[in-house]
Point group: C2
Chain length 353, copies 2
């Protein structure tokens, strides 16, 4: 892990924002299950320990789907949004999409050999994470632009698909898509079984996440909102049309960008939202501010043994707790959001355990 520690010291949200938002870049609702009672008759959340978080989820599902409840939500208004990194899968010590960018550099240099002697590509080619972790933010942006834009969108999709199938994380030696949180998979399934449309609302690139979202989360591409660059329509030499990913930022889907992205691509305020960091703050505020029953939840990374610990529960100063500072914890308590303790609320973390 030590090789990754230097990267860990970078503000990770900044990194992801940079990844996409580089300044250089300028109802059919599914079948409703037999509903609330189904959640009570059997345990719809078997990977959750009994406690306030699990109860909050089950209560919310019950009151919003029971037609006799004052908080009943018509099926077409059942929208639930989920941050991805740190909420649905591991984001530590470095976002998978950023590793993708680093991993793409050799192919990039092969296509453009002149880059081999140019920073920051030269440093990335060394494969020395100690050095890579010390690259300035501007260098990370440059790598992101070079590896995420400028190509046909279908070529990009094919490259991500191949990478995600082959790449392995350093700690568990497994595909990144194995590092999804089983308790949250159960939440996705429970919401969908009760007529909710589940959306990913990620600070990561939506083109990236859409490649595997359906297979991994059961969430189709059209229900993934994320940071996005523009595309440009054109024709190849045979007159066949294609879209090219442009180095032009359309949506930085972090912080205030999350409710803005939700309005752009969904057009309705969520009834429930799940996040884990300051980047999700505005999405949770926006969700909670709507009329009627709302559910806003934050995953707290306080399990250094089974996963990672970087929340306020560690008693660390804000500068050390990264994306979940005490102020966020305080806002959650004040505004009636629920904090999910990975250590206390989750019976298990991964399906492979």
């Amino acid at each position: 892990m030590s090789s990754n520690d230097s990267i860990f010291r970078l503000n990770r949200r900044l990194l992801l924002a940079a990844l996409i938002a580089a300044p250089a870049l300028t109802a059919m609702v599914g079948p409703v299950s037999t509903s609330a009672h189904a959640a009570e008759d059997h345990d719809a959340l078997p990977s959750w320990n009994d406690g306030p978080a699990k109860k909050a989820i089950l209560d919310f599902i019950r009151i919003t789907t029971d037609p006799s409840s004052k908080d009943f939500v018509p099926p077409e208004e059942r929208i639930a949004t989920f941050d991805q990194d740190g909420t649905l899968w591991v984001e530590h010590p470095i976002y998978s999409q950023l590793i993708y960018c680093f991993d793409r550099v050799p192919a990039l240099v092969k296509a453009r050999p002149e880059l081999a002697k140019v920073e920051p590509f030269k440093t990335v080619l060394t494969g020395d994470f100690e050095k890579i972790g010390k690259l300035p933010l501007r260098a990370i942006e440059e790598i992101a632009v070079a590896t995420l834009t400028g190509m046909d969108v279908e070529m990009f999709q094919a490259e991500v698909k191949a990478w995600i199938a082959g790449a392995r994380d350093h700690r568990w030696k497994r595909p990144y898509t194995d590092l999804i949180y089983q308790p949250m998979q159960e939440v996705l399934t429970l919401f969908r079984a009760n007529g909710y449309k589940t959306f990913i609302v990620t600070g990561g690139g939506q083109d990236f996440v859409r490649v595997y979202s359906e297979r991994v989360y059961g969430i189709p591409p059209e229900q993934v909102v994320g940071s996005a660059v523009g595309t440009k329509y054109g024709y190849d030499k045979n007159g066949k049309p294609f879209l090219t990913k442009e180095p032009k930022l359309l949506l930085n889907d972090n912080n205030a960008g999350k409710p803005e992205g939700i309005h752009l691509e969904i057009g309705r305020r969520p009834r429930a939202a799940f996040g884990n960091s300051t980047g999700d703050r505005q999405m949770l505020e926006y969700t909670q501010a709507g009329d009627g029953a709302r559910l806003s939840m934050l995953v707290l990374h306080d399990d250094g043994k089974r996963e990672y610990a970087y929340g306020p529960a560690q008693g660390l100063p804000d500068s050390k707790v990264g994306t979940f500072p005490q102020a966020l914890y305080d806002e959650a308590k004040k505004d009636g959001w629920f904090v999910i303790s990975m250590k206390d609320d989750w019976k298990r973390i991964f399906a492979f355990e």
Copy 2:
């Protein structure tokens, strides 16, 4: 009608683009029916006359939903996109959204009395369509910016909802939402009954169309892609968050902007696409260029008696046929798109007939 003729003379697509794109502005797939056979056993398209257009639709549904067909499309990939103006409802002689903008001017002037003596608001206040129709494009843009941006998105939604309930078109003296084409409603229903997700992909403002799309077309807001301005997240004096519509263009969902908007908000290439004008050309090209079975169709407005006639069938020079020039007709024939003749293919136009 004479009062509208002067507006008719404006290039109508330009008008709509201007409406939004003013330069001043910088899977759960639904239940699959008993499928193909259902479409054969009863007439799923009763408002259609037998002919090549009706046959093309029924054939496409059959071959893409029959599991034994070589052209079978997995349910999660069943995406169909529909232009709105001129494809799902009447666009002639002037887009409803533009009338909305004009109709909003008195309220705007009430809030900002200084505008009463300023052009173009002064002219719009006269209510004289002869004069309004002669306003330069730049003036139309100014009215669009003033009436479509600068307010809380929920306030905008409430205003559009009230307007659409009360406004009446000049020819049929009915709500604009009565002027939807019954044959196309049947197509939407048929596609959805066969597991297709139906999307509107409109050059109009997506915030506008989303207000009534679910009620009128059965298409939820999250399945409406359209021209869009950015929003800005903020807080009111009580700390409650809200989104403000900004005078900043994010997506001009016309022409090349249609496949670009589809990529942004859907993330998959449609299997079927319906349009009626040059603004839909790239969407149809993009749809048709995909692998496997594809269906691209253009509604030809050739029924001057029951609706309007402004297609090449009139034998008019291109400058007079507005949005459906001969070149588009030729591309359709060359690329295997189907042209729907309103006169010949549609048994009736409106449900109220």
